[in-house]
C-alpha cells in the first residue's frame, strides 16, 4: 500500500494492474495506436518506479499490444494491414469452433451473463461512449471462449481481440457501423438453445462481417504508423 498526498490509501500498482489498466485504455480507444508510452511518465502516473512500468510494458509487448524498440522505448502498436488480416483469419479459425463448444456447455447463468454484456454494450453506446462499447463487445467474445472451457484457446482469443481493437482503431470504415447489433443477440440465442451448428455458423459469419468491414487495401506509399502518430 502507498499513502498518497490526500491521505487516501490506494493499493500499490503492480505489473499486472498497470498492464491491465493500459490494456483497457487501449481497448477503449482512449490511447491511440502509435502513442508513445514513456517509462518515467507512466511511473509518475501509477506511483511506482520505472522498474515496474518496464515489466508491465514488456508483457504488453509480448502480446503485441505495444511495440518496444531498443533505445526508442514503448509505444502503442500499429498493426499493419497484413497483421490485421492475419489476426482476423486466426479468429475465424479459432472462434467458430469455440462457439460450438460453448453452445454445448453453456449454462443458464452463462447466458444471463452474456445478455448482461450486450445490455451494457448498448448502454455504453447510448451514453455516447463508443470506446467502452467496443471493449464490452470484445468481452462478449472472450466470455464465450471462457464458457467453452478451453483456457489455452481462450487466452489466444483474448490476445487476438485485444489486437483487433487496435486494428479497428486504424482501419474501421465508419459507414459500416451498425452491422453487429443483431449478431450477438442471435449468437446468444443459439448458445441458449445448445444449437452447436448454428452457433458455429453465426460466429463464422459474424467474424467475416467484421473482417470485411475493415478497409485493408494496400496503401503502399504510406507508413500508417507515422500518419496516425501525426493525426488531426
Amino acid at each position: 500500500m502507498t499513502r498518497t498526498a490526500d491521505s487516501t490509501v490506494t493499493p500499490a500498482a503492480t505489473r499486472e494492474s498497470i498492464a491491465q489498466a493500459l490494456s483497457l485504455a487501449i481497448h477503449e480507444h482512449r490511447i491511440a495506436p502509435g502513442t508513445k508510452l514513456g517509462e518515467y511518465e507512466l511511473s509518475e502516473i501509477y506511483g511506482v518506479s520505472r522498474t515496474v512500468v518496464r515489466a508491465a510494458l514488456q508483457t504488453l509487448a509480448d502480446i503485441r499490444l505495444v511495440d518496444i524498440r531498443r533505445n526508442k522505448g514503448a509505444s502503442v502498436a500499429c498493426p499493419s494491414t497484413t497483421e490485421a488480416h492475419e489476426v482476423f483469419e486466426a479468429r475465424e479459425l479459432l472462434e467458430p469452433r469455440t462457439a460450438r463448444s460453448a453452445a454445448q456447455r453453456a449454462t443458464a447463468s452463462d447466458i444471463a451473463l452474456l445478455e448482461r454484456h450486450i445490455n451494457d454494450e448498448h448502454a455504453a453506446l447510448d451514453a455516447n461512449d463508443p470506446g467502452r462499447a467496443l471493449y464490452l463487445s470484445g468481452l462478449f467474445h472472450t466470455e464465450i471462449a471462457r464458457i467453452a472451457g478451453q483456457a489455452t484457446i481462450a487466452s489466444f482469443i483474448e490476445t487476438l481481440i485485444a489486437r483487433s481493437s487496435l486494428i479497428i482503431a486504424l482501419y474501421w470504415r465508419r459507414e459500416s457501423a451498425l452491422c453487429e447489433k443483431h449478431a450477438h443477440h442471435a449468437l446468444v440465442q443459439a448458445l441458449a438453445d445448445h444449437n452447436e451448428q448454428q452457433a458455429e455458423e453465426l460466429m463464422r459469419s459474424h467474424l467475416v462481417d467484421l473482417h470485411s468491414a475493415l478497409d485493408l487495401r494496400e496503401r503502399n506509399g504510406r507508413t500508417l504508423s507515422l500518419k496516425d502518430a501525426l493525426g488531426p
Copy 2:
C-alpha cells in the same frame, strides 16, 4: 560486448538471448519441469545482472514455459493433465488447417528444408541425443506453420509446441516411442504434392497419435513436480 577473464569477447546476453537459451534447454529436456530457476544463479551463468534475467524469465512465464510465484521465484512449468489436454486440443484445432495452407504454398526449398530437419532429427536419435531429436521434431511443426505464411497463428503454434515439450517430459509413455517415424515423411510428401486434403488429414491423425501416446490419467495424490525433481 563484455570481456571475460580469458579475454575472449562474447556478445552480451540480452533478455531475448537468455529467454531463447532457456527455452532451448527446456525443449531439449536438459532442464526438467519443476526445476528452480534462481535469478542470481542465472545472472552468474549469463554474466548479466538480475534485472535482465528477470525480464527473460518474465517472457517465458508469459508463454507458460516457466511458472513465477510471488516471493517464490521462477521454476520450469509443470503443466497439469488438464493443461496437457488443452494444449493438444488447441494443436489439433490449429495445425491441420495450417498444414493445409502449407501444402498450398510450399516451395521446393521449403520441402528441402523440412527434409533436412527430418534427417537432423534422425541423426540426433542415432547420436543418442533424444532431447535434441525432440526439439528438432518440434521445429518441424513450427517450420510448417511458417511455410503456411500466417505469422500470428505460427506464433501460437510455436508456444504450443514449447509447452508440448514440457508435457512430453511429464507424461510420455515410453512404450509408444516409434510412432512418428513415418508420419513426418508422409506429411512432407503431401506438402510436396500440394495435396491439401491429405496434408490436413495426416497432420490431424499425427497429432491425435501424439495426444494418445500420453499418459494423462488423473493421478490425484501425486505432485509430479517433486517426483521429477528428485528423479534418478
